[in-house]
């Protein structure tokens, strides 16, 4: 057991301290950890914890010396209380400090505010993403906006300045509008605010109200945290009436501001909006009436113009019409005389024509047709009579020649002769006796002889 080397506790502690100092070289490290068990008595003492899957995987004591604490608080400003509290994860600059008496502890020298804000933004974005995935992100923006929002469900911290400002502005508006406000009280910051807000919104019957108004007084950036709450945001986005926010932060906007139908900076602004809306409505109505009146007047003046144009027409048209008719009558009168005269003139000419023909035609007819015919007949009569007479003369002449030819004289001339006895022409010799006296007639002269002998022929 003698080989056994025994160290005093301080030797060991000193050796560990030396080893740690050798390892760290007195250097400060950025460490990410959650604050727990924070106590501030002059200096601040706390534990840093790391969770993983709900289990603590590392714990270490830490402290902030008073001077550093004061500096850090002033650096965090309004956010100091939001960050320097249990359960907040922070990014800290610290040195590992091993105290022989107090043991291992992290000496926190600075906190990175941007880390916390960034974290909040990250959570905010996650909430937005979740709302979008649910289809809720734009839901309230599509809620129909009535022309007047008079019945108001107000979610606010009763007694807060924000509440008072809102009520004051709303109820004492210049134009005397009445708003019917029902308050649903709720804490609006700090732990549990989100839950209270959820409960308040959940209690509202949307059918009874025109709008849901959420107001909060001013606060730090991280005070907005409850208004980024996913569950609250879901309720608000799904609210069927318009949601108006006056959550009061100059620079940043909460998730509720993003999904609300009407985000305003301050409660006062919300109140003004409501009053302005009512007033705008009333003005719109009045101006509409003015327009209606104007249109009526315009319409009437047009009608008056038409009526007076009609009156003018009534004044002039009939007169013109009568004048036109008078002109036509005048023309007719002229035409009447003219046409009658023309007619009489034509008749007169026809008569004149007949008269002229009558003075010439019958005489001409008598002379040319009748007298000429008669004369022609006269001539013809002479001709025809003469012709007849000549024909008869010819006939007579022919007869005379024939008689001459047929008469005995012609036969005698050819040498024949006629023998007569006792005045009788003898054609048969047998009728004669010798010695008888006969006469023979020749063409020229007569012979007296006595018959000597007779010879019978045939």
């Amino acid at each position: 057991m003698d080989e056994r080397r025994v160290f005093t506790l301080s030797q060991v502690s000193t050796a560990i301290k030396q080893r740690i100092e050798e390892a760290t070289g007195g250097q400060a490290y950025w460490i990410r950890a959650e604050i727990a068990g924070l106590k501030v008595k002059n200096h601040a003492y706390l534990e840093l914890v790391e969770h993983k899957g709900g289990q603590k995987v590392a714990v270490m004591r830490a402290h902030i010396w008073n001077s550093a604490y004061q500096r850090i608080r002033s650096e965090l400003g309004a956010e100091a209380d939001n960050i320097l509290k249990d359960g907040v994860e922070v990014l800290l600059l610290g040195r590992v400090d091993f105290h022989l008496v107090h043991g291992l502890s992290i000496n926190i020298e600075a906190l990175d505010l941007a880390f916390n804000i960034g974290e909040m933004e990250r959570r905010k974005l996650a909430t937005i993403r979740a709302l979008k995935e649910d289809g809720l992100y734009n839901r309230n923006r599509f809620a129909p906006m009535p022309m007047v929002l008079q019945r108001i469900a107000l979610v606010a911290s009763v007694g807060s300045a924000a509440y008072a400002d809102f009520m004051q502005h709303l109820q004492h508006n210049e134009r005397g509008y009445r708003f019917h406000v029902r308050v649903f009280g709720s804490a609006v910051q700090g732990d549990g605010a989100a839950a209270e807000l959820r409960a308040a919104v959940g209690a509202i019957d949307p059918r009874l109200f025109d709008a849901l108004v959420l107001v909060r007084g001013g606060g730090s950036k991280l005070d907005l945290e409850p208004f980024n709450d996913l569950e609250l945001a879901r309720l608000v986005a799904a609210f069927p009436k318009p949601v108006l926010t006056g959550i009061g932060h100059d620079v940043d906007t909460s998730v509720l501001d993003l999904i609300a139908k009407e985000p305003h900076k301050t409660p006062t602004a919300v109140a003004d909006f409501l009053v302005d809306k009512a007033s705008g409505f009333e003005i719109a109505l009045t101006s509409m009436l003015d327009k209606v009146h104007g249109l009526v007047l315009e319409d009437f003046s047009m009608r008056r113009e038409t009526l007076s144009a009609y009156a003018e027409m009534v004044r002039t048209r009939p007169v013109n019409h009568c004048q036109l008719q008078r002109g036509r009558l005048h023309t007719a009168t002229g035409q009447l005389a003219h046409r009658v005269q023309a007619k009489l003139h034509t008749e007169g000419q026809v008569l004149e024509n007949h008269r002229a023909r009558l003075t010439t035609d019958p005489l001409r007819w008598l002379q040319q047709v009748k007298r000429a015919g008669l004369e022609e007949l006269s001539i013809k009569l002479g001709l025809v009579a003469n012709k007849q007479l000549q024909l008869v003369a010819l006939q007579l002449k022919g007869l005379r020649e024939t008689v001459n030819l047929l008469g005995p004289q012609a036969t005698l001339a050819r040498g024949f002769s006629i023998t007569r006895a006792q005045g009788q022409a003898i054609t048969d010799a047998g009728n004669l006796r010798p010695g008888e006296r006969i006469t023979t007639t020749l063409a020229k002269g007569t012979v007296h002889s006595t018959v000597e002998s007779i010879e019978q022929h045939g």
Binding site: G382, L389, V392, L399, L406, G407, P408
Partner: protein, 67 residues
């Protein structure tokens, strides 16, 4: 020459009869002579009638020219 109221037409008719007889060789020489004589008489009568008619017609027609 003409007996009582011998007219041209009667004369001419007789003449024509004689001519027919003559042409029919039925007539003996003695009769023939008589007939011929009559025919000549008739022809002469007719001739004279014709001439006087011509004269008369001529006068009538001439009168017309003055009408």
């Amino acid at each position: 020459m003409a007996e009582k109221p011998l007219t041209y037409d009667k004369a001419y008719a007789e003449l024509e009869q004689i001519m027919t007889d003559l042409q029919a060789d039925k007539i003996g020489v003695d009769e023939l002579t008589v007939k011929v004589k009559r025919a000549v008489e008739l022809i002469t009568f007719c001739s004279q009638m014709l001439r006087s008619t011509e004269d008369e017609v001529g006068k009538l027609v001439k009168k017309l020219g003055l009408a």
